[in-house]
């Protein structure tokens, strides 16, 4: 799965989990840019992404993503090392 594809899948998951059709994720998007994305929904999103891509983030990753791009990179790295 390529970088763009991962971003697109994440976008779908965000739309689905946060119940907001208008979310458009970019690599530089942060939690501050998406209204429903708070510390509580963050976990919900993480769990949904983990289930979809069948992978598991570390605690440090969950706490440390600066933006969507970093999260996508982590996903890509994990998928490639499978």
């Amino acid at each position: 799965m390529g970088t763009t594809e991962i971003l697109n899948e994440c976008n779908k998951i965000f739309i689905d989990q946060l119940d907001n059709e208008s979310i458009i994720l970019k690599r530089e998007t942060t939690a501050a840019d998406v209204e429903e994305w708070d510390s509580l929904t963050h976990i919900q999103l993480i769990v949904a992404i983990e289930k979809f891509f069948k992978l598991r983030f570390t605690t440090a990753e969950i706490q440390g993503f600066k933006n969507v791009g970093e999260m996508c990179d982590a996903i890509e790295k994990k998928l490639n090392s499978k």
Binding site: D19, I43, Q44, V47, A48, T59
Partner: protein
């Protein structure tokens, strides 16, 4: 149900749902749990408002007399200490062999402090099991191992709940074993101090809502069973009695275990009924003759085997038992029959079943269909009670006049104030009765104890009814509030539907009027609060001769004519 659906439910309209207030006191973060409880409550038409204590501040919260916990007027208080923190505390305090006792004392102090401010039901979470990480399996031989102390706490929690009506245990331990899912997400624990994984949080919330629902009077009362490939393997009409699979034959074990479960439910007070497409003689044969059958004719209160639609037959069963359709569970291996019943009788609970019969019971066990909040002496005899009722129905048909029939029953009723023996049953009646219930106020055992002690404010009566076919047990409750020295207000008037049309309500009226007269009250007033289910008593007070009076109903004691009844008061 997943978290997305829960979130979606939170945005829905809860108008008209039953309002319930819940407080959670926890030593970990409970935001997910709180959201999940409210969201799942929506599915049961419950408007559950959840109040959470400040994170990890149980002691401070309860010590503060001004705490929101006390002004919130919570119906249920969940006390949730996490096994993580329990374990930490255990090792920090030096693996003390008195640890379990101290923990129980700590929990008891919490509940008694709260009880001194506000009346509430306590639901205390127990602690999931784990293999001891210090002693390993040897921990069983060591009384100061964590594993031993933790299991001792779980056992002591049950002893406490058995002795104190206000305490119930939420069986986290059992839930964890059943779901078998990773219940801890250490990443959540580290980043937000929430202990459970999101998936397990949903299971816990679901379980909590089931308990709240049972406390709210929505417990299941009847299990309706199909026969072929549900209670035994094979088709009795085609295979014959010798070839049906039960006991050691084929996959008979599975069906034996389903029957054992049904039998245990029956002993607990769940009414069993059979609803099968069969010739009745064929269907009954195994119950009478098959040596491996666990269930016998005596266990089944209503037995329906014919070729009519199952939904018509279930409606018939409901009319015989006189209980709500929403208190019935129907189990059938046939998807077509299940869907028909779901379509025509959506109130009936019809579990989907797995494809493989070997998985039936495993699956049914995950549903926790028969959650309850009470277990009384009467429950054990319920099947007998309903069987006697069937005999009475037969007898009533042989009399042309209702009066003659009522006279023939030789009815007696014992009338007395509440006492320690009757309080659990009285509380149960207030919680479970939906139809013959004038105000549908629910009371816990604690409430009832308190009311029965306040002699200057309340006068309460319990009524039993017996006749020549047997005893109905305690079937009626009236609680009178002394509003002033002239007026008695009927705070609760509840009667079991098993004793409709016996003149019981007239008898009850005679009794309270006599009390009012003897104690110089001038009138009794009553109120009807309409619910979806109590339409049958809409005209109760009018029928008994009360007059409408500013939204209430009133009857004067002067000139009251005793109602004619065929029930004798007994003083055994």
């Amino acid at each position: 149900m997943d978290f997305k659906q829960i979130k979606a439910n939170l945005k829905k309209d809860f108008t008209g749902f039953k309002k319930i207030r819940v407080a959670i006191l926890a030593d970990s973060s409970t935001q997910y749990l709180a959201q999940a409880i409210r969201g799942i409550g929506y599915e049961k038409k419950l408007d559950i408002e959840v109040w959470e204590s400040e994170y990890d501040a149980i002691d401070l919260t309860i010590a503060d007399g001004q705490s929101e916990l006390y002004s919130f007027k919570t119906d249920f208080t969940f006390i949730f200490l996490s096994s993580h923190k329990l374990k930490k505390k255990f090792y920090k305090t030096g693996s003390d062999k008195g640890f379990a006792d101290n923990t129980i004392t700590y929990l008891k102090n919490i509940t008694s402090t709260i009880s001194s401010h506000v009346k509430t039901n306590f639901l205390v979470f127990n602690f999931p099991n784990e293999l001891d990480t210090v002693f390993g399996n040897f921990s069983g031989k060591v009384n100061n191992s964590f594993s031993y102390q933790q299991k001792k706490i779980n056992l002591e929690l049950m002893h406490w709940a058995q002795a104190d009506a206000a305490i119930s245990v939420i069986d986290l331990c059992g839930l964890q074993a059943r779901t078998g899912i990773a219940y801890i997400d250490s990443r959540l624990y580290i980043s937000s101090d929430a202990i459970f994984s999101l998936d397990f949080t949903i299971e816990v919330a679901n379980n909590c809502v089931q308990v709240i629902d049972a406390f709210s009077g929505n417990a299941k009362k009847c299990l309706i069973l199909d026969l072929d490939n549900t209670l035994w393997g094979g088709i009795i009409g085609d295979d014959g009695m010798e070839n049906i699979q039960i006991g050691d034959l084929g996959i008979g074990k599975v069906f034996t275990e389903i029957q054992l479960w049904a039998k245990a439910l029956k002993e607990r007070g769940i009414i069993l009924a059979v609803c099968s497409k069969n010739d009745e003689a064929n269907a009954r044969e195994p119950f009478e003759k098959h040596p491996d059958m666990i269930l016998h004719n005596d266990d089944i209160t209503v037995f329906v085997a014919n070729w009519s639609n199952k939904h018509d037959n279930i409606k018939y069963i409901q009319s015989v038992l006189n209980i709500g359709l929403d208190s019935m569970v129907f189990i059938d291996d046939n998807p077509f029959e299940r869907n028909m019943v779901r379509t025509y009788l959506p109130e009936v609970t019809v579990p989907e079943l797995p494809e493989d019969p070997a998985d039936y019971l495993v699956y049914l066990n995950t549903l926790n269909l028969f959650e309850t909040n009470a277990y009384t002496e009467e429950d054990k005899d319920r099947t007998q009670l309903y069987k006697a009722e069937a005999l009475r129905n037969d007898a009533s048909r042989s009399y042309t006049s209702e009066t003659d029939f009522l006279k023939s029953l030789n009815m007696t009723s014992e009338v007395k104030p509440f006492d320690t023996f009757t309080i659990p049953r009285v509380a149960q009646l207030t919680q479970r009765s939906n139809q013959f219930n004038l105000r549908t106020k629910r009371y816990t055992e604690e409430d009832i104890k308190q009311i029965s002690g306040e002699h200057n404010k309340y006068q309460a009566f319990s009524f039993t009814l017996a006749d020549k076919y047997g005893s109905h047990g305690l079937i009626g409750v009236i609680m009178l509030e002394k509003r002033d020295n002239k007026t008695l207000f009927v705070d609760a008037w509840i009667m079991s539907c098993r004793v409709l049309k016996r003149g019981m309500e007239q008898f009850m009226l005679n009794e309270i009027m006599q009390y009012a007269n003897e104690h110089k009250f001038e009138r009794i007033t009553g109120e009807y609060i309409e619910t979806k289910k109590n339409g049958m008593v809409k005209h109760h007070y009018r029928n008994l001769g009360f007059k409408a009076d500013n939204g209430l109903w009133s009857i004067d004691t002067a000139n009251f004519q005793q109602k004619e009844v065929y029930i004798e008061k007994s003083n055994k």
